[in-house]
Symmetry: D2
């Protein structure tokens, strides 16, 4: 990632002149285009675009770019998001007992492979405190019982708000979030489900897969919506299995996929490369 | 494949001495083991095995091997199948309009990659007559309408019986077979479904996949049972897709998978490498 | 593919305003952008772009577009190619004995999956005449011996010139072309080599791979240059193998890859989606 | 893995009765076969086998099994290895600066996915001390300079001997071992090379791959022999790349492969599932 760039994500009804208009804005204000990628959804006639340009000689101060784009936004009826590469996203990681995804994210983060700030780790189990300490990330333990679930979630939301968290990563967090939580972080909660959705929704997907006798198993990272395991899919990976693999081997093979799809989805999100439209994603390269 | 070998497929309750007993039988009768592969389903305590041995010095005539194995079969409570490599399976291919799987099978067959006799091609469309002629395979046209479906199937079954067909390959045959047909060819009808089952059962799986916004699509070859798209899975393959792929590209990418899984499943079946147990398959290497 | 569009392929030194300038040209002349994809090679500071726009309301006649772009081309020092979707590329397929790639291309072409005209099939064996007839493609037999090789090639080039062939597809053609031939069709000869290059250059790559004991085998489609198997790579695919696969199974598995990479490379070429720069390719989506 | 089983690895000239003889030995001594897998290398007429049986009712004490097998070994001219599942292999991990493979191995080991004892970590850099401490594994720092290389290696060998290390894992250890070291641990040093060998041998394989413009990159785990990157291949994995991936992205994608192939190779080795023959491996399932 560039360290002084602006990133624009656009969705708009497709019309002649869109690319011209937006690249004219950047060019005439001395912006050097670093990346531009577009996609036209022909079925819905929607134009999607991601632009990134160098700000070093850009004549509009960053704080005024949003305002400067207001006319274009209005005229072309654009749904627009503006980000700056020097503002790292603040994320929280939620995890239950299984720590393979957590560890993978923390290790990649430590090595500079994930450009975000991890504000804290939240868990309903205490076992991951030690790993959090090792990676110097604050850890909060929220035990969840049926009777305290709603209350605990309110507390979690309070902590997230206080820490300005904008992205929630469910790294094998085995609790279903309430609609209130999901609404608060719409398109900003990434979950990993251990099957190739839409197959094997819900609990114990590896067991479901094993019983069905499939020859490939998969893993899916997706944004969380109110319907369980039904949100927009960001990333999927699969691996071959055979009758020789028992349930335990399904789980071991699957873990590798879970790490890959979750880390990939988080990377795409924090690089501002994902647009969501009608429960589907556009994931730019 | 060896050209003068016996092949034994066994499923039995797992007990001490199984491998010893059966290899003793082969060894003591001067059989040279060419291939032996076993698998234990620990959950169900079932032992599966495939053995292949050279018959050239075997002292029991082929016609008496089944009888000679009767005691072992009884004592060990074995479910057993015996085949000889010089008896090529006789197959019929069913196809509708789309001919990519048909062509792939015919071309591989012509090149000696599929050791079976293709007794005939049956279609509910006439367009594939020309290809059948090119590959010198008899072709029968059975137009299917709601009102003649059962009757036509009876005719088809009569033709299959008359030609001693033992394997039915549905190479994109877009008609659901009746239970009578399925019963007649239990575990001997191979279908290709154009999704990674159990996702996207039924009609238009690519359209379903496209609407769901998946990032991988797949294809599945399976034995046909009375429940649609629910039979034992033999082979599955997947390919990555993205928002850049429209429905037509899903179809084109999928076609390649369909060919691969169907040809692979047919090959395994005619090499006598598949055992079915409780709606799952053991597919030997 | 659109049926009335212009396609522009551009390579140029990267400078501020490139995208703006070219999209302005299209927009101001009433072209509706159908596809735009760019890539910046940061190491070499080269900008690559593919643009496609609808010609139905474009105010410049097709015959004058090249001229109209001359100033932009000069000012920005662009290497530019212009194509029209209604001009289908004319291709010749060269093949030796093995016909799996040939068949795959002909079948896809027949089904409308490859938008090109196949002007003729050239072979140093006669066996593929019958298939050529079946698909209604002219066939020419050029037996090649050491002593007549150069002469035969001259004859081949003459036929290609006479038929206005612009793309040569080597679908498992087991003859090394002379530099004269390669020069005549620079970046317009696509070959399939049956290994994941640069491993196993030259003869018998499957045997080389088998002897080395690799656990994956691959296939590569590339443009032909004067150095054997060293040209710009367009497409590669691999498949897992194990000790259980003998050389024959390497070959069978490999054939599937060969078909996939060659068909894919041809498709990309005829859709004008490939740019070659310094022995590497940019392959647009 | 079973916790009280014997494992037999056999390589022998293929002869009638081999499987019978060895399964008779196990059966007649009250061993319950848990796993049996064989492979015949037809080219070299060599028979490979892995057998595992439950020792709980086996009538020969573990300490006498080797002796009890001596006649069979001699008569059939078998190359034989005998292991017991309760004897966990002792391994040492060598690592330089990059810690992704190290971390992956340590984390899997901690979670019980790799049944071995990690006796120590050896590094020519100090940075991994902290991780070693976190996972409670002894760490030894051996700085390597041209002038002290041989001496340091002698010291390393002394430590390995003292700790009874039987397996050396080079988890991105950027030093070439001397022939003395390699001889001492013949077929017991596993290295990960960051390319799909035999392509891109030696230094900077990702850079080599990037320059060649390949469309897939790979990673290889192999036993170390005296010739650099030429030893028997155990595991290989690849991932697609495109012109959009710069060198840094090659490295990031490659890291995931390196972890997968190395962990897989180590797992196979410690489960006694690998046989080496003529610079190739048989890797049982």
């Amino acid at each position: 990632m560039h360290d002084n760039s602006a990133i624009l994500l656009i969705a708009a009804p497709d019309k002649k002149g869109l690319v011209y208009t937006i690249t004219e804005f950047i060019y005439k204000n001395q912006g050097n285009l670093l990346h531009a990628e577009q996609h036209i959804d022909v079925t819905n006639n929607i134009f999607f675009m991601r632009l990134e340009w160098d700000l070093s000689k850009f004549v509009i101060p960053s704080s005024q770019i949003w305002q400067a784009l207001s006319e274009i936004r209005q005229v072309w009826n654009m749904d627009m998001q503006l980000y700056f590469s020097y503002n790292k996203p603040k994320a929280a990681i939620f995890v239950s007992k299984s720590d393979h995804c957590l560890f993978d994210l923390l290790h990649k983060h430590q090595n500079g492979e994930l450009q975000m700030d991890i504000g804290l780790i939240i868990s309903n189990h205490e076992n991951n405190q030690r790993s959090a300490d090792f990676f110097n990330i604050p850890f909060k333990f929220f035990p969840i019982l049926k009777e305290n679930k709603e209350e605990q979630e309110l507390q979690q939301l309070a902590v997230l708000a206080q820490k300005d968290i904008e992205l929630v990563v469910l790294a094998r967090y085995m609790q279903v979030l309430t609609p209130r939580f999901v609404d608060t972080y719409k398109n900003r909660i990434i979950n990993v489900h251990h099957s190739f959705l839409p197959a094997f929704v819900g609990a114990n997907p590896y067991e479901q897969a094993y019983k069905r006798g499939v020859k490939v198993i998969g893993s899916t990272a997706h944004y969380v919506t109110e319907t369980l395991d039904d949100g927009p899919i960001i990333s999927q990976r699969v691996v071959e299995v055979s009758h020789k693999d028992n349930l335990q081997e399904f789980v071991l093979k699957g873990k590798e996929l879970e790490k890959l799809v979750l880390a990939n989805a988080v990377k795409k999100h924090i690089e501002r490369k994902i647009l969501v439209f009608q429960n589907k994603t556009v994931v730019f390269d």
